[in-house]
Amino acid sequence: MNLVNATRAEFSKLLTVRLWWILAIVLFVYVGFTAGLLAGVFTGLIDSTGDQLPAALADVHLIVYSSASSIGYVFPVLLGALVTTSEFRHQTLTPTFLANPRRGQVLLAKVITLAVFGAFYGAVAVAASVGVGGAVLSVTGGDAMLDSEDTWLLMARAVVAMALWGAVGVGLGAVVPNQVAVIVILLAFTQFLEPVLRLGASVWEWTARLGQYLPGAASDALVGASVFSIAGPGGPSASTMMLEWWQGGLVLLAMALVATAIGYFTTWKRDVT
């Protein structure tokens, strides 16, 4: 009944149902496909414009590789939210709290576990984006830039970002213990609302300043590149407004901590009936 045992138990919980590897496979395919597509499109653009590269496209390889987290971040959040809400849904909080009545310790163990799984998802996503994206870049005449320090730094930061997203998922699941509700909220926000907000925010400078604190934007700042950074209608000056990488990391960390704390006090400490 200590944090080590609690964390080992949380690991077992994840590894003994099929969810984690199903999501990992989908993540690999999704990120690999997206990175390959981006790589193909960008090298096509470069070919058609000759040497006259738009400034934002100078680091094509980084944009392609960053899809690991800029596209893939929804997977660790989803995993974290699903495993947390499944405790409520299947009433497994009862045996969990019987085995370890220290509820705060259990929640902390879950956060740690999901951060580790998030990092693993990060590794899977990076393998997909660099593997497939890099291959397409090479084949289509671009440069995979695998010997570049920037590439490896980005890969490492993508893993850190995905780890933080896993922790955010636990907090989210504790705040919204209804599994269907949390899935709807997550998908609606990450797949629709946030991209729209980021595009909208990039129109004016003051909104862009706020927009950089959006969770996905903070994540992209941590990683250092994103396909979103070249997609803004306000042009490079507004759309590339990003936090420092460490600031982005802190925003994600704060989100994970705040959500987990709120979840702890609202649903986790409640009567288990």
Binding site: M1, N2, N5, A6, R8, A9, S12, K13, T16, V17, R18, L19, S86, H90, Q91, T92, T94, P95, T96, F97, L98, A99, N100, P101, R102, V106, D271, V272, T273
Partner: protein, 310 residues
Amino acid sequence: MATQTSINVSHLSKSFGSVEAVSDLSFSVQPGQVTGFLGPNGAGKTTTLRILLGLVAASSGSATFGGQTYRELPRPLAMVGTALEASSFHPGRTARDHLAIYATAAAIDRTRVDLVLDQVGLGGLSRRRVGGYSLGMRQRLGLAFALLGDPRVLVLDEPINGLDPEGIRWIRAFLRQLAEEGRTVLVSSHLLSEVHQSVDSAVIISRGRLVYEGSLAGLESTARVLVDAPDRAGLVAALRAAGAAIEQVGAALSVASLGAAEVGAIAHRAGVSLSLLNTEQAGLEDAFLALVGAESPPGGVPATTERIPA
């Protein structure tokens, strides 16, 4: 069983909003016997057990194991084994993995997992996903979870629910065996007939209040005498002088420890004329139903059983 542990519930109350599920409930459960925790559905049994196990916070009062609350126990699963309901499983997980997770969390040796699975007769099915289990198999898995830490105290909520006749016979023998090993066994049920063969004593609650605590034999002999007199105070004094246990039931007095002839004689000697003298011959089930007030009309005023202070 090095030491034995009793369960002590003291002035326990719990309100859910304006609904009082448990009110001022006190009772204790002794080791070495099977105690039935009885009452109709909605009487507050599960709420009481969940408070006892630290899952639900009490509004007031306490519920402890030998003086320590569940959360204060250094190794709760090794002290108290619990089977609450037959649905606290992830359907996609095997029985073996299910138990292994909580063994890990509670620092219980993993070898216990296969041991308890064999003990409840699930040994051959332990690598199947729980989603495919029947209700009876889930009950057995719940029991395996309770036994995981080889606990001194067992708290089982409706463990017989959903078992087939063979399973019922099995669990009765099993409960007996656990009690004979010196463990404290508390078994809840809403059906007296379900447990009366296997329990030694009973705690009966109704509408969140204690209505009976004692041996099952004592419950059976509550063939009570209903008696009343215009001079009720005189009657009470005379009966009490004779050592009778008196309760007020509705408009009459109920005497549990004396026969009708004795009550009549006592009243006669005291010069109290009776307005009512009637033997209520109650079987075990009738006594139970009378206690929990199941015969009162739905929505009506519950039959109040006041204890006249001695």
